[in-house]
């Protein structure tokens, strides 16, 4: 028994890697369809958007790069989907240089998906939505947006003068936004809350990676954040609320099984470590 315990506690990492790989692949091939229950934090974001009348301006900040794409991209899709469904005016910015290509991908995907559902669906670039692209300066861009978004972003990605776009006719500064969803893989979200949304009284939902979620709870309790979409699970909850199964929903089975595997591995490692220590103590005494 002692030899088995010693072997288990220094288990070859290749065995662990293989188990993790299987825990991901098998549920993808044979889905368990585990039920997803939306949390109040995600429901809050969904409800706040739901209550906005058609034509309300909303801001989406795409502040992540491809490394966080599996977790955060489904949130961007859900945000655009809900906004387009409700005919909201969507302003999209990017404060992460490596994420500048993600928003066009998401816009194209959502428009294609929506057209499949409703062939008459149509949104006009520059009128119903605008993608303003990347601007360096992070906090300074937010401060400038508080004064005039058209000055913070003089041109959109299509190189059109923002001051000439119809979407800016009634909305040109941050405080006029009725809601914001920031999709964050780093510190930019904190800056949005401190310098952007709180001083300008813009309600904001935070879409963040799983590891970042705990640091947003103080903002939530202080009501400086309206809701939190935490990681892939949060993204899946939003998909459930919107009534479609996107990539986040499909990833819930593998994520659950991997978490269960890690849970079991830690429990077993601890039990076996105590057991081995007890055997060694017994041997020393005898």
């Amino acid at each position: 028994m002692k030899r088995f315990l010693e072997w288990f506690l220094v288990l070859d990492r290749r065995i662990i890697y293989t188990l993790v790989a299987l825990a991901v692949i098998v549920p993808l091939l044979f889905p368990l369809n585990l039920r997803i229950y939306p949390t109040p934090e995600v429901e809050s974001v969904h409800e706040s958007l739901n209550e906005l009348p058609a034509g309300s301006p909303v801001l989406v900040s795409v502040d992540f790069d491809p490394a966080a794409l599996p977790e955060l991209y489904p949130m961007l899709i859900s945000m655009l989907r809900q906004s387009f469904q409700q005919k909201l005016k969507v302003f999209i910015t990017c404060l992460w240089p490596n994420g500048v290509n993600l928003a066009p991908m998401a816009i194209d995907q959502v428009i294609t998906d929506m057209k499949k559902l409703d062939p008459e669906f149509d949104v006009v670039d520059g009128e119903d939505y605008v993608y303003l692209g990347y601007q360096p300066g992070t906090v300074l861009v937010m401060l400038k947006m508080a004064q005039d978004i058209r000055k913070a972003f003089p041109k959109d990605v299509a190189k059109r003068e923002t001051s000439t776009l119809p979407i800016f006719e009634d909305t040109w500064k941050l405080s006029q936004m009725k809601y914001m969803v920031m999709i964050e893989a780093g510190d930019t979200g904190d800056y949005w809350i401190v310098y952007g949304t709180t001083p300008n009284k813009v309600p904001v939902g935070a879409g963040v990676t799983g590891v970042m979620a705990p640091q947003y709870f103080p903002w939530l309790q202080a009501k400086q954040v309206d809701g939190i979409i935490a990681g892939l699970k949060g993204a899946a909850e939003w998909e459930v609320l919107l009534g479609y199964a996107g990539s986040a929903t499909k990833s819930m089975d593998p994520q659950s099984i991997v978490h269960a595997l890690i849970f079991l591995a830690i429990i077993l490692a601890n039990i076996f470590a105590f057991w081995l220590a007890a055997i060694k103590r017994k041997e020393e005494r005898s």
């Binding site: 290509n101 991908m105 360096p136 300066g137 591995a265």
Partner: protein, 212 residues
């Protein structure tokens, strides 16, 4: 010369700091124009910081290649990747809705797979590290272990099949974890204020280089 090297930057920091501070409380047009001007200048400076970054990166890797230091092949790869992306980005533009560019193709077929691969390998390393290191050796480690295990399972759909587990995980996130983060935030904010005051009044001078 001494004035421009030491006193002038301190004077500049003092004037800029005080001006920005009072601009927050003075709604008069000249004050707001000054505030707006400062923001414009700083956005331009932030753009130039990017250029300095590019110069620094190129210089660092060119030096490694020139001196043939061990592993200089990685520097060649970095410089090649950087040049290709820069040229394509400058001459073919970035993606727009409904418009596909060469830069977009590079992003989709190189950046996304490479960054996703790097990030995906973390799952394997974390599983292995958690198995080896997450042990209840002390009372504090045991508390962390129990909280961690509840959150690991309570924040995924499978946790809903264990009664009360998700509620417990939610309680941990919204209470002990949140309290700890709030303490960290307050500490960081107070330190930030203290550091700003030190810079404005010339006590903190490390930003000028030289270490004093």
């Amino acid at each position: 010369m001494q004035f421009f090297r030491r006193r002038f930057p301190i004077l500049l920091a003092f004037l800029a700091g005080i001006a920005m501070f009072f601009a927050q409380y003075v709604p008069a047009k000249p004050a707001q124009a000054l505030y707006s001007g400062f923001i414009d200048w700083t956005i331009i400076i932030a753009g130039f910081a990017g250029i300095f970054g590019i110069i620094s990166l190129t210089h660092y890797h060119m030096t490694k290649v020139r001196r043939r230091v061990p592993g200089y092949g990685f520097s060649v790869t970095t410089l090649t990747g950087f040049t290709v992306m820069l040229v394509i980005g400058l001459f073919f533009g970035i993606a727009q809705p409904n418009v596909k560019t060469a830069g977009d193709w590079m992003f989709l077929n190189l950046m996304i797979p490479m960054q996703a691969t790097m990030f995906a390998t973390l799952a394997f390393f974390i599983a292995s590290a958690a198995f080896r290191a997450f042990r209840a050796r002390t009372a504090e480690a045991s508390a962390l272990l129990v909280a961690g295990l509840i959150v690991i399972l309570g924040r995924v759909p499978i946790g809903h099949y264990i009664p009360k587990l998700t509620d417990l995980a939610a309680w941990i996130m919204a209470n002990p974890s949140m309290s700890a983060y709030r303490g960290i935030f307050l500490g960081v904010a107070l330190a930030g204020i203290a550091m700003s005051v030190r810079i404005i009044f010339g006590v903190e001078r490390t930003y000028m280089g030289g270490g004093d």
